[in-house]
Subunit: 283 residues, 2 copies
């Protein structure tokens, strides 16, 4: 499998060049205030551009949060298209944080939106939600595999309201008795293994205890994990090895507020420092 056609290998080469830090781009109105901007589509473009400029050459991955672009409808999506295109042209990998989830034929349309070469929103990976069943994501995975793209499936998130749903236990089939989050992680890994192509990854919050969900990191070699929650939400890069064990090898460590709150004057210095902290933690 060539590097071009396998998302796992793409991640590896980004990690080798820039380390594991991913900068979340959440253009929240409260940040515009801090940056001295008004709340407008023009600001959305300017803010995104400045954060990207601070990342280029220092960080290998960005994760734009689609919701904050969607607030402005079509104008917001124009800003998002520009950000994605500028990032990918500068060799920065883009994980679109869209958390899309629907039935199979509709998921095909979402997969086309985010993963098909030439689509206006073409990114390198997208986050998806499994509430309509993992089977509903099969076509998305196939489209991703065909184009060397990635699909991060929500598994165990770090927000306090999530545990009730994500620790729910399946009642039927071979996974009966296992927690939903664990089942998702195992199945995504198994699908990668049987395809001999790493398109599937999972989202696990950096403040989640893997044990609590019965997730055994030793049994998931090579599985990409997108972990939001470093920095502002409390987990530190130095916790990564302890939290994720062998999953650290393809861990996308996402920091958002701890970087964006630096404001326009300190963002370059902050990105540089946080990237170094991540590199030191995984050295």
């Amino acid at each position: 499998m060539s590097v071009e056609s396998d998302f796992g290998s793409k991640l590896d080469s980004v990690f080798a060049r820039y380390g594991h830090l991913c900068v979340g781009i959440d253009p929240h109105p409260y940040l515009f205030d801090r940056w001295g901007f008004d709340d407008s589509p023009r600001t959305l473009r300017e803010f995104s551009k400045r954060v990207l400029d601070a990342c280029v050459g220092r960080v290998g991955i960005i994760k734009p949060q689609v919701a904050f672009f969607e607030r402005w409808g079509a104008s917001g999506y124009t800003a998002l298209e520009e950000l994605i295109h500028a990032a990918r042209s500068a060799d920065v990998l883009v994980i679109a944080d869209a958390k899309r989830g629907d039935i199979g034929s509709t998921m095909q349309a979402y997969a086309q939106s985010w993963l098909s070469p030439g689509s206006p929103l073409e990114s390198d990976a997208v986050t998806v939600s499994p509430y309509l069943g993992l089977g509903a994501l099969d076509d998305t995975m196939s489209i991703a595999r065909a184009h060397g793209k990635g699909v991060f499936v929500l598994a165990a998130t770090s927000n306090p309201e999530a545990a009730g749903v994500q620790t729910s236990v399946l009642t039927e089939g071979e996974d009966a008795g296992l927690a939903l989050a664990r089942t998702i992680v195992s199945r995504v890994h198994a699908a990668n293994e049987s395809a001999e192509n790493t398109a599937g990854g999972v989202v696990i919050g950096a403040t989640v205890s893997l044990d609590e969900y019965g997730i055994d990191p030793d049994r998931l070699p090579g599985l990409p994990v997108l972990a939001p929650g470093f920095g502002f939400q409390g987990a530190q890069p130095s916790d990564a090895r302890h939290l994720f064990g062998p999953l650290t090898s393809r861990l996308v460590m996402t920091e958002t507020r701890s970087i964006l709150e630096a404001g326009p004057d300190a963002i370059v210095e902050t990105v540089t420092r946080r990237a170094q902290l991540v590199a030191d933690a995984l050295a």
Copy 2:
């Protein structure tokens, strides 16, 4: 509570005027072919306009599927803005089928996108996904309540891959031992009751057996239910009372392919006939 500030009352007045049929607008490329169109943003606008024109005065609710607009990025969202605006100007209620689901602060941005007065994508209701926990949807519900908008939470969907996740059983708290879908339905209903305002609804597929999930329609008075799957997917309007019992009073019966496949020449006749079938079934 005035009609303007309560989504449940808005539904009631639409039902009284036009009946319970909701036309799903899924501009799928295979339909463009059938309509004699190419696959382009221009077609997206033309197709949406023609379907809406066939609905105005005959049907009170449309449900655009956002994924098929997102395929075209910002141009697709321009077409969606136009459709939503034209529908609401013609007194047709719009349920944006977006199935958004994220953590609280991000959900606020999605709620602003779809439910805030004056937003480019302002609709009357939006569909959301509960995988990050029902608590993560609290702010969305509050924003909806404040503006007389609706939020339909995915509960039990009719796609075959979904049952594993949606029949999973909670392990903690007061709902321990109950299926996820049932818990979602009960909690959305309880939130409406305690707010004395009906902003929350649920999505239950028309081919789902309520019994299987432990959902008791007698205990959910006034709960809006969005039911896709009438027509093409097999359920007939005449099944509605049998399937949904007292929940029929606020049942949004959605048909999509059975109407869109009629093509440009037969769509007005088809919409008229299907609306009449729905009216007869609930008479």
